[in-house]
């Protein structure tokens, strides 16, 4: 018998009896503490510029997922690697699409982490007490760049072999510290060792560092907006709202990567051959190519180290509490010069003919 038929009046609380979904959610929250994610974050953080870090992490997860698929078919033996990539492209179900998605995802990850670094720099979000988190961010950028490089080698075409040969030359420049880059080190081929680094060591490192990075973001809270003045406190929104926005942006990103993977799948060149140098690196690494033209293979090492050293010391050079970019003009100009120079070098290298750098051919 229903309550209505008995004439018992229902209270407002009873009218708002939670539905199945709500009860399921409450049960989950009781066990997982999900409501803890509803902590407030400043309103200025709810836009694309402040979602670049989250999008980078989502892209990393997509890379792991597509990478797991590719590892089922890829053979890291130098004699079989090229053929196994060909097989992924021609014979494996969705192989060409997944490889294309992985490739474009890697490009997106490089762009997203670069823009995220730039946003943190411009908004002064690395300033006290967030210096350590900036350094963890730079380590993540370095890890991403290394993931990109090792991935370039694994496809094992001419471009890959030449990249690997440059890596070996850099190992020689490092002397005894470059022992790991020697083809004679270890008991398995260098390509196989790079594969292990690409699928295990670097993802593990990235996961560990990003965990600390996120914990520090939570612990130190979002940095205040550099453009907000006045005594009134900034309005806040729950972090879950930020997560929902991030999810929407992730859908757009996945959609774009899907279309790119279908319409512009990455090329796979002919099988590699030693003794000649006839390719250029992919565009994210192209900025070092003219430097290598001018001062040799050592230029790759010194230019890369210089960039990362400059990034590491940013919080120790720009120490004023001022966050507004307008009031940090020297730093903005310096960063602008570096970014424009790198873009200029990429464009210059793209139009230059291929040159032999390590005395081959």
């Amino acid at each position: 018998m229903s309550e209505r038929s008995t004439g018992v009046e229902s209270t407002p609380a009873e009218v708002q009896t939670p539905g199945t979904w709500r009860r399921f959610w409450d049960a989950l929250d009781e066990r997982l503490g999900l409501k803890g994610l509803q902590y407030p974050i400043p309103e200025h953080a709810n836009n694309l510029a402040y979602s670049l870090g989250g999008l980078t992490l989502i892209t990393f997860v997509l890379m792991v997922a597509t990478g797991i698929y590719l590892t089922q078919y890829y053979n890291p033996d130098p004699n079989l690697a090229h053929e196994s990539v060909r097989r992924i492209i021609t014979s494996v179900s969705f192989g060409k699409f997944i490889r294309g998605f992985h490739y474009w995802g890697a490009m997106a990850m490089i762009v997203l982490i670069g823009l995220h670094l730039l946003r943190v720099f411009v908004s002064g979000s690395f300033k006290r007490p967030r210096e350590a988190n900036w350094i963890f961010g730079v380590i993540l950028a370095g890890t991403t760049a290394t993931l990109f490089f090792t991935g370039t080698v694994l496809k094992w075409d001419q471009e890959s072999l030449e990249a690997l040969e440059h890596n070996i030359e850099i190992g020689k420049i490092l002397g005894r510290f470059g022992f790991w880059f020697s083809p004679s080190f270890g008991g398995i081929p260098f390509l196989t060792r790079l594969y292990v680094v690409h699928i295990a060591v670097l993802p593990f490192l990235f996961t560990m560092v990003v965990a600390v990075h996120l914990l520090l973001v939570k612990r130190l809270k979002m940095a205040p907006s550099p453009f907000r003045h006045g005594p009134q406190p900034e309005p806040t929104r729950p972090f879950t709202k930020h997560l929902a926005e991030l999810g929407a942006l992730a859908l757009i990103l996945i959609g774009i990567l899907t279309i790119l993977a279908v319409l512009a799948p990455p090329p796979h060149g002919p099988a590699p051959i030693e003794g000649i140098e006839i390719t250029k690196p992919p565009w994210p690494m192209l900025w070092v190519y003219p430097i290598e033209d001018w001062i040799g293979v050592a230029g790759i090492l010194w230019a890369t180290l210089a960039i990362f050293l400059a990034l590491f010391i940013v919080p120790f050079v720009d120490r004023s509490p001022e966050r507004s970019p307008r009031k940090r003009l020297p730093m903005m100009i310096a960063a602008g010069v570096v970014v424009i120079t790198m873009i200029g070098l990429i464009v210059y290298a793209a139009v230059q003919p291929v040159a032999s750098h390590i005395g081959m051919g």
């Binding site: 859908l251 959609g255 279309i259 993977a261 002919p270 099988a271």
Partner: protein, 180 residues
Amino acid sequence: MNEGTNAHRRRLVHSLAAVGALVFALGPTTAAFAHEGEENVPAITDVQEAIAILAEHPGLFPAEEVTDHAMDKVGDALESNDSRGVVLENVSQAKDALDAGKTEDALTLLERSIGACPGAPVIEPEDAPRTQPPLSSPCPSLAHIQGLDRSPVGGAQEPVLIALGAVLILAGLGLARRIR
């Protein structure tokens, strides 16, 4: 003052003449040194390098540059002391094809000269066997191999995946708008 200037000019002319003579004397020697020993490189290595030069993104470089570079290697192959594993007649034909600007024909002939399939892996040519093992299956055509690069996914997957991508983008845009 004039004498000093003249003496300085004479010294400059003498120095330039001496440098010129040195360059003239050493130039051919240096060039010869650069090519010295190339006849000892196995012909199969030269052929493999020529194949890689012709096959690797020919559109990236001016056609003459690719042809000249490959022609050097083909010439070295023909002059090599070690022609094991190479059908030199095919290499000669490849040379003629290069001369005629038919790079794709040259590539096919070079591959045929060492019994390789288009795109077959060639790693560490110095250590490679000097004769190729017999092919167990017919080679795929060069056009097929080159067609793999930059060609869309193809088949029924293509429209489905593009539609899926478009739906995801629209869903993301809609959600982002709704959440704001």
